[in-house]
């Protein structure tokens, strides 16, 4: 049978559009179906616009202490609507950029809602118009949406990240439920703009996916900035009161309910895959814990149907989605791609200070390896960090004592999100400690801390 397309991709987020471009590169006739704006959550409501917001709060914070650097600035203030406007502008221009890339690669961009009819047929609904397309291969990259708590739903006062990045006014006070990357970034942003911020976390530490030491260091730093944390605490309910919300909190092992008030609530308690209304049941595609089950090549139980990105499960990261997009396309092109090792996917939090990590935490490393070596280096001992007065933070590495395998790296501090790739390359290439030890890092840079942390692990540290 002749198909209209070789590959059709449902969803144009960082998984979908990258898959589309790679498919076109490999000579496949490719179409991508998007019901909303090109670029998905990442570009429009996630990664990119939040970084734009955080840049504004960072500049504001820096300017407030400009005197320290010998710079005089008076009447420092901000225009919140302009901050938001710039963020939206950045998202818009990048989304336009995707449209350009699709066009350049001769990818058909179809607007509408897609539903799988069978393994090769997709029904697309646009307003009242319905069309059917057929394709040899289908890639599902429909992403995910914010999760709600059982008793708490999103509304005008209880925001998801989408509302949190596009409010009409700056709230006076804010309660953030959940201290993962999204929760922390918003808490950090609003706190920097002078909003009173409470963060509620169910686990015993913030950023529970990070290494313990990172969580401990981060909470101290954020508390110094004025954020109030409630650890080991669950949110019982959110009641609407005059001028905002009343949030009932319950500490673990404590039956007493305490109350905090906040004008708005941001709920950032994870996301859930968009697996509904796309016709998965028509094909009998297997679902596991709310996401589509795939093999290492991102293939579902239907051979020619692939699923990538958030809809295919954690970690929920744009760069993981993009890479899975490439793996899926190369697999359907019989190119035998190298599969993804989840321990080689870096994760970043863009707060001030920034947090970046790859591989296993110390606790997990010790669960899986007989003997580990830990190396640490505080930015306090780094010349560049001192020169720019960004001495907060440290770099920590975990090595297999036996083989010199880099098991994990964890960093907190200025610009660490721009440095983690150094370890990612070493880890992906299976470099041992020797490869980093013998690498020359430029001076003076914060990157020298990456070197020093490894030296420290092998008792060769110079500056610490």
């Amino acid at each position: 049978m002749e198909f209209e397309y070789d590959v059709i991709i449902i969803g144009s987020g960082p998984g979908g559009y990258v898959a589309a471009i790679r498919a076109a590169q490999l000579g496949h006739k490719t179409a991508i179906i998007e019901k909303d704006k090109l670029g998905g959550i990442c570009l429009n409501w996630g990664c990119i616009p939040t970084k734009a917001l955080l840049k504004s709060s960072e500049i504001y914070t820096t300017m407030k202490k400009s005197d320290y650097y010998g710079i005089t600035a008076k009447d420092i203030s901000f225009d919140f609507s302009k901050v938001i406007q710039r963020s939206r502008g950045v998202a818009k221009s990048l989304s336009d950029g995707i449209a350009f890339l699709l066009k350049k690669n001769n990818i058909t961009h179809i607007t509408g809602t897609a539903e799988l009819v069978n393994g090769n047929t997709i029904k697309v609904q646009n307003d009242k118009k319905e069309t059917k397309l057929n394709s040899k291969h289908i890639i599902i990259s429909t992403g995910a949406r914010p999760r709600e708590l059982p008793s708490i739903s999103f509304d005008d006062d209880i925001w998801s990240y989408k509302q949190a990045m596009n409010p009409s006014n700056l709230p006076k006070s804010l309660a953030v439920i959940g201290s993962g990357a999204i929760g922390i970034e918003f808490a950090n942003f609003y706190n920097a703009l002078g909003v009173e911020v409470n963060v509620i976390e169910l686990a015993e530490r913030i950023l529970p996916n990070e290494d313990n030491e990172i969580s401990d260091y981060a909470i101290k730093d954020f508390e110094k900035q004025g954020i109030i944390f409630h650890l080991n605490t669950s949110v019982e309910k959110v009641t609407k009161i005059k001028g905002g919300c009343s949030i009932s909190l319950q500490s673990n092992g404590n039956s007493k309910i305490s109350m905090i008030k906040a004008e708005k609530v941001i709920m950032a308690v994870g996301i859930t895959g968009n697996i509904e209304n796309i016709g998965l049941e028509n094909l009998g595609i297997e679902i596991e814990n709310g996401h589509i089950k795939t093999n290492e090549y991102m293939q579902t139980n239907i051979d020619n149907v692939y699923a990538i990105g958030d809809v295919a499960g954690a970690p929920w990261l744009a760069h993981k989605a993009s890479h899975e997009g490439v793996v899926s396309v190369e697999h359907l092109s019989n190119l035998d791609p190298r599969t993804i090792d989840k321990n080689n996917i870096p994760g970043c939090v863009y707060s001030s200070p920034q947090i970046a990590s790859i591989g296993l935490s110390e606790i997990k490393a010790k669960e899986s390896y007989e003997s580990v070596r830990i190396g640490k280096f505080p930015l306090l001992a780094n010349g560049k960090a001192k020169a720019i007065s960004s001495e907060s933070g440290f770099v920590k590495v975990i090595y297999d004592n036996k083989t010199g395998e880099l098991i994990g790296a964890h960093m907190i501090g200025d610009s660490v999100t721009e440095l983690i790739h150094g370890y990612a390359i070493a880890k992906n290439m299976e470099g041992t400690e020797e490869d980093i030890v013998s690498t020359i890092f430029p001076h003076p840079t914060i990157s020298e801390s990456l070197h020093e942390a490894v030296l420290n692990a092998y008792d060769m540290g110079i500056h610490y």
């Binding site: 669960e367 899986s368 390896y369 083989t403 290439m429 299976e430 470099g431």
Partner: protein
């Protein structure tokens, strides 16, 4: 067609050689396998065989020439019917310009097949596989062989392979472009760190965490464990035990010591080391080393002394005991034991040997058995000196005795041989004047 003969690399480290002598002269018939010249390498004078039949047409490098570079043409071999005049102007040509068929040489290629960090010693990995098979073409062809044979392996996979002595020559990798990665090596070893861990976890579940302290095994402990495990699982061993009277030995020892200052005093161990050496010469099967396909019989007697350390033990080796007197044995032992306690022994001071002596007499241990320290053949376990009643001429008297236990590798030392060895030791211990022989 003529064949150029090059200066061969007769040892892996040879870069130049001296042409000692031409066995064949120009015009002589040469058969494959016949010796044509003697070449002195950095190690020895070696005979150089022709790999082909033909006539030695032209000698390019005269007898007695020194420092001839490896792969420099040294002679031309002519095939049947070829004329020496065809080669007239050859002397002036450079090696690279020689327009003749080239005779390949076995070439040892060091470190070229494996990429990666230079510090790691590749020898284990490379040893027997690194000789490129003879082919009919060299130079450029050889280079392409090297390229084809080059193994791509990640630094981590390489290190794990070397540490576990894994041969990677026939391993295909699952990394980019067939690069060998950790996963591939682990598959070979069938080892997954997670498995080790889960095995641990099942043991850990038997004990209450609040009731034990935990300490990671250091390298020395791991090495000891590995070697003992190897020894106990791979060496078929048996033990022989006897008591010796040490009254006479002690008597002689006291006499000697009464003439020596305190620092120079001789202990029973010094005598035992010497006597062991004598017994090893008497029963050479004990002074041997088992290899899978052969046995080494040693001419000298190297004896290990078990030294207990704070966290383990080590057996430094007293070399050539047969050539040493008691004083020299004592001096050697003193230095080695001190070094061992300070953890300053170099590997050459504790590797090798054929037998070890372990003495737990000072703890009051009557007798015990030990585990052979591979690649040694046996180990002696010495018990404490104790007084026992003995009957001599129907009268009970008191004697000092000491128990000696031999644990021996049956592959090398049969029971009767082991018995002969240990009973000779007894004979000397009880009649120490034999030591004067």
């Amino acid at each position: 067609m003529s064949i150029t003969i090059f200066m061969p690399a007769l040892s892996p480290t040879m870069e130049m050689g001296n042409l000692v002598k031409w066995i064949k002269n120009e015009g002589d018939q040469v058969a494959s396998g016949e010796i044509i010249a003697e070449i002195e390498t950095d190690k020895a004078v070696m005979e150089f065989e022709s790999a082909d039949d033909g006539i030695l047409g032209k000698i390019l490098v005269k007898e007695g020439t020194v420092d001839v570079k490896v792969n420099q043409p040294i002679a031309i071999l002519l095939e049947e019917g070829e004329n020496i005049n065809d080669l007239k102007d050859l002397d002036n040509k450079q090696a690279g310009e020689v327009d003749v068929k080239i005779k390949p040489l076995d070439k040892i290629v060091d470190d070229v097949k494996i990429e990666g960090s230079p510090k790691i010693d590749d020898n284990n990995l490379m040893k027997s596989e690194n000789i490129i098979p003879q082919s009919e073409n060299v130079n450029k062809q050889n280079e392409s062989n090297i390229f084809e044979e080059r193994k791509f392996i990640s630094p981590l996979a390489k290190r794990i392979a070397i540490e576990n002595n894994i041969d990677i020559t026939n391993l295909s990798g699952s990394g980019p472009n067939g690069r060998i990665i950790k996963k591939d090596i682990n598959q070979i070893m069938n080892v997954n760190p997670i498995n080790i861990k889960s095995n641990n976890n099942s043991i850990l579940s038997f004990y209450d965490k609040s009731k034990y302290a935990e300490k990671l095994n250091d390298n020395m402990r791991m090495v000891i464990a590995k070697r003992l495990e190897e020894s106990n699982t791979q060496i078929p061993s048996y033990t022989l035990n006897l008591d010796c009277s040490i009254s006479k030995l002690n008597e002689i020892r006291e006499t000697m010591n009464s003439n020596l200052s305190d620092q120079l005093r001789l202990s029973i161990n010094h005598f035992l080391i010497k006597i062991t050496s004598m017994a090893m010469l008497k029963v050479p099967e004990v002074n041997s080393t088992w290899l899978s396909d052969r046995t080494l019989f040693h001419k000298n007697t190297d004896i290990g002394i078990a030294v207990a350390l704070e966290n383990g033990l080590i057996t430094p080796i007293i070399r050539d005991v047969e050539k040493k007197g008691l004083m020299a044995v004592r001096d050697d032992m003193k230095i080695l034991v001190e070094k061992a306690r300070e953890k300053k022994l170099s590997p050459s001071e504790y590797q090798g040997g054929t037998i070890s002596i372990s003495n737990l007499g000072s703890y009051g241990i009557k007798n015990f058995t030990s585990i052979i320290n591979p690649p040694q053949s046996s180990i002696l376990s010495i018990g404490t000196a104790r007084k026992v009643p003995v009957i001599i001429n129907d009268a009970v008297s008191i004697d000092d005795v000491m128990s000696i236990t031999l644990t021996a590798d049956h592959r090398l030392i049969d029971g009767a041989v082991g018995a002969a060895f240990i009973s000779y030791m007894k004979q000397v211990i009880e009649n120490p004047t034999l030591m004067l022989l």
